[in-house]
């Protein structure tokens, strides 16, 4: 398997890249939804993100990537106390996946051959402290969506089935991608994504050509290409780590809070999750840019991603939500 395409080598799609970097800085923002046409670099960006993320420290052999030896779940019977460094997990959740695979289930093989009641952890366990990626998320079966909603909300996976009674932490950043022409996403699930991004094929020829050139270079001369971009990826990773450190020290003036509230009220977004995400994303962006405090510029930069999927959807509205958000931003938060 080839190394993924370097994140910094992705041409354009600035909003998507920004959203992904922000969740890497503050996982609490709660995931990214990327909607757009085929061949616009959605999957590429997610796979590239996996290569970009700083590694995590986890107990060796722990199925839920616990950070310290004492916190591994009992059922896993982890004996090792060694803490190893491993890449941040980016777990694919394929369509048509069964419930068992997602939440985990009784290990049938052991139950039948050895008569033992053992838990076989699922994808949610593996995704703990990392990312869960769902390609074509709008085609996901409804019952799997229900499961995800519940776990994404509580950060804990509860398995009560086949005589098992198990719970384990499942905190992950949900990354979804899809093509809106193939189906809509349920509002409940939409709301669980912190940021949402609409991507489109670049319109100008120069950008398109550059995309093709880089991709072609990557395909044909992978080593050279990766070497060329590795330094940039490393710089970006360092910036993300620095932003993580800077985040708690960041000042949030009251005026920014008022701006957040005013914007959300004007847009009529449901609940308060919009404000919270908007603020978190703005803080993460400020930290990333090394600013001492959050200001209106940061809010303006993240507001479309943080709010466009939270508007009460009028299914018959012709104008996209992006346009509505942009209009309100200009009205409420003039630059």
């Amino acid at each position: 398997m080839k190394d993924p395409f370097p994140f910094s080598a992705i041409v354009g799609q600035e909003e998507m890249k920004q959203a992904m970097i922000l969740t890497a800085i503050d996982p609490g923002i709660g995931g990214v939804l990327v909607f757009g046409d085929r061949g616009t670099g959605k999957s590429t960006a997610v796979r590239a993100l996996a290569g970009l993320l700083p590694p995590i420290k986890a107990v060796e052999g722990c199925p839920v990537n616990s950070a310290t030896p004492g916190t591994s779940p009992d059922w896993a019977h982890v004996t090792s106390t060694r803490v190893i460094t491993r890449p941040t997990p980016v777990i694919d959740l394929p369509l048509g996946v069964t419930e068992d695979r997602v939440v985990g289930a009784l290990d049938i093989e052991r139950a039948l051959t050895r008569g033992e009641k053992a838990f076989e952890p699922g994808l949610l366990a593996r995704a703990n402290r990392g990312y869960l990626y769902i390609d074509e998320v709008n085609l996901l079966e409804d019952h799997i969506v229900d499961l995800l909603l519940d776990v994404a909300q509580s950060g804990e996976n509860v398995v009560e089935r086949e005589g098992l009674s198990i719970r384990h932490p499942a905190r992950f950043v949900l990354v979804g991608s899809g093509n809106p022409e193939e189906g809509e996403l349920r509002p409940q699930l939409l709301d669980r994504f912190g940021l949402s991004v609409d991507v489109a094929s670049p319109n100008d020829i120069a950008t398109r050509v550059e995309v093709i050139r880089r991709r072609d270079a990557y395909e044909n001369d992978t080593e050279v290409f990766l070497k060329k971009w590795r330094a940039k990826d490393t710089t970006l990773r360092k910036k993300i780590l620095a932003a993580r450190t800077a985040l708690p020290l960041l000042q949030t003036p009251d005026s920014v809070l008022e701006d957040c509230a005013a914007l959300c009220i004007a847009l009529g977004s449901d609940g308060l999750r919009g404000e919270l995400t908007l603020l978190r994303a703005a803080r993460a962006l400020a930290a990333f840019q090394g600013a001492p405090s959050v200001n209106r510029t940061h809010l303006r930069a993240v507001a479309p991603s943080a709010l466009r999927h939270r508007l009460r959807r009028d299914p018959l509205d012709e104008a996209g939500s992006t346009a509505r958000v942009a209009r309100q931003i200009n009205d409420i938060l003039p630059a």
């Binding site: 009784l106 139950a111 390609d135 022409e181 193939e182 670049p202």
Partner: protein, 556 residues
């Protein structure tokens, strides 16, 4: 640049296979659209020159086969864990049969595998008319061949393995001129191809073609061939149409994009490539693909062939014998119950074996019965008489119903009939924005081909049923049929045809609602509804809200 003729189409089959054999990874694969026929066999015979082992897949393949996993039967037989390797574990050329039936989930998995660059995919698409493989898959396959109407003679013999092997050796050393990427990108944009995978495939195809010619450098000729092979079937705008009119019924207009990019290449030297690609465009391709692309949207969450007896959710049904795969769940209790009576006998045969003695034949699977998705087929009379009276109101009511359908996660299809025939404006979809757009652009006028409308609606219903959905028909008409099925203006014949279709509905068991949109209730239509065993609702003059309330109550 018409002085150099494009490569004759007869070459396409052999060339496609040869190019794929030279650079299987770079080109992703081949989408071969043809029914099983000697021509197709001749093309598939050429796959022997691929440098990868060939593995056949079927659309119903499970995850355990793709990704491997515990082989339960073998594990039980040997008493130790036996793990089977999945088909996707090794580089291979996967042959996907019946690709048009490929469910969305499988398409995504195969797409991910293709993106990883470990192999190529040969999609054998046997679809008729608007049946197409998922776009997530076809977008990742560089080459396309349609053998419909291609005679046996036109299919060239399999490429010479030695020549292909030599070309493959040469491929890494083929130089690409600086400008090639730009030319191909501009051409793709000019043809309205949004996906950026297309120019990449074209670049790979051009290199493979140069290598096949035994050249060390990609020439204009290679680019031309590449554009033909890769761009022709992806085109959404015919370059020659961009001048006089907007692209004919765009399946999903992307604002600003095509209009911005298409005029530009007109003035550029890439015209030559456009010309070449256009030469390979079949005349009706655009309409065909547009229809198919829309149809694909219908497949809903679980894809084609979603059976009503699911094995994952819904009301539990008695467990049945079967082999656990990635899709179904074992029912441990039922399995043990089946195995229990045999324990004494099996113990005699295997005295040393630990634990319970369970054979693969004991496996019992869980089954659930789920209610399938509903698809509401709106069949709208857009004839002159209806247009005058109530078309606007009918539109309004449908829009309101759409909002309800959205809340209930119903699919919606739209059939309109006017003039001499009926038209499927929107295949079953959940996309409301699209429905709204199609509805808004529905013009009124002409005769009332009621029977044709009913026939088309029934076809849609039957197709939806084959996909595991439950169709419901809502017919909005004033009932004054005056165009017969054969398109002639003959009122008695038209009424007779409509009555015939109505009886077909009665036997088909499709729930139907007839909404009389005439100014006064029509006794003829009421009789027709009776023949259809439909609910008949005469609507006095009413606003859209009231109409929608009536409809909503009748369909609930």
């Amino acid at each position: 640049m018409t002085d150099t003729p494009p490569a004759p189409p007869t070459d396409r089959t052999g060339l496609a296979v040869a190019l794929l054999a030279i650079d299987p990874i770079g080109l992703g694969g081949l989408w071969l659209r043809a029914r099983a026929c000697p021509q197709r066999d001749r093309v598939t015979a050429g796959f022997d020159v691929l440098p990868l082992p060939r593995i056949r897949l079927h659309p119903g393949i499970g995850d355990d086969a793709l990704y491997g996993g515990t082989d339960l039967a073998a594990t039980l037989a040997t008493g130790r864990r036996v793990v089977g390797a999945g088909l996707l574990a090794h580089p291979a050329a996967l042959v996907l049969t019946m690709a048009e039936r490929c469910p969305a989930g499988l398409a995504v998995r195969l797409g991910q595998w293709l993106d990883a660059g470990t192999g190529c995919l040969l999609a054998l698409d046997e679809g008729v008319e608007d049946e197409l493989p998922p776009a997530a898959l076809t977008d990742r396959l560089g080459l396309f061949l349609d053998l419909e109407g291609t005679g046996w003679q036109a299919v060239s013999a399999p490429p010479d393995p030695a020549r292909v092997a030599a070309a493959r050796e040469r491929l890494p050393y083929v130089d690409t001129p600086e400008d090639a990427a730009r030319m191909l990108t501009v051409t793709a944009a000019g043809l309205g191809i949004a996906s950026l995978r297309a120019p990449l495939f074209a670049l790979a195809a051009a290199r493979a073609h140069a290598a096949l010619r035994g050249d060390d450098c990609v020439t204009d000729d290679d680019l031309r061939v590449a554009a033909q092979m890769v761009f022709a079937h992806r085109a959404t705008t015919r370059p020659d149409d961009t001048q006089d009119s907007a692209p004919p019924p765009p399946p999903e207009p992307r604002e600003g994009e095509t209009s911005q990019t298409s005029p530009e290449p007109q003035s550029l030297p890439e015209d030559m490539l456009l010309e070449a690609a256009r030469a390979a465009l079949p005349a009706d391709l655009l309409a065909r693909l547009a229809a198919g692309r829309a149809a694909r949207m219908a497949s809903g969450s679980s894809g084609t062939g979603a059976a009503k007896k699911g094995n994952r959710r819904g009301r539990p049904m008695p467990p049945r014998e079967g082999r656990p795969d990635g899709q179904s769940r074992l029912d441990p209790v039922a399995t043990l119950r089946t195995a229990a009576p045999w324990q004494a006998m099996r113990r005699k045969l295997q005295p040393q074996a630990p634990g319970l003695l369970i054979r693969p034949s004991d496996f019992r699977l869980r089954r659930f019965q789920e209610t399938s998705d509903r698809v509401l087929i709106f069949t709208v009379d857009a004839s002159g008489s209806a247009a005058l009276a109530r078309l606007a109101e009918a539109k309004g009511a449908i829009e309101l119903l759409l909002a309800q359908a959205y809340a209930r996660r119903d699919h919606v299809a739209l059939v309109a009939f006017r003039g001499t025939n009926a038209e499927l404006l929107l295949p079953p979809t959940r996309s409301l924005v699209q429905t709204k757009r199609r509805l808004a652009s529905l013009p009124g006028g002409g005769g009332t081909p009621l029977a044709a409308g009913l026939r088309l609606a029934m076809e849609v219903a039957i197709q939806a049923r084959a996909r595991g959905m439950t169709p419901t028909l809502a017919l909005l008409t004033d009932g004054r049929a005056n165009i017969a099925l054969d398109g002639t203006a003959n009122r008695p014949q038209a009424m007779e045809d409509a009555a015939r279709m109505a009886r077909a509905y009665a036997t088909s068991g499709i729930p139907t609602l007839v909404l009389d949109t005439a100014t006064r209730p029509q006794p003829d239509l009421r009789a027709l509804a009776g023949q259809m065993r439909a609910t008949y609702l005469p609507l006095p003059r009413a606003d859209a809200h009231r109409m929608s309330a009536v409809l909503g109550a009748a369909l609930a």
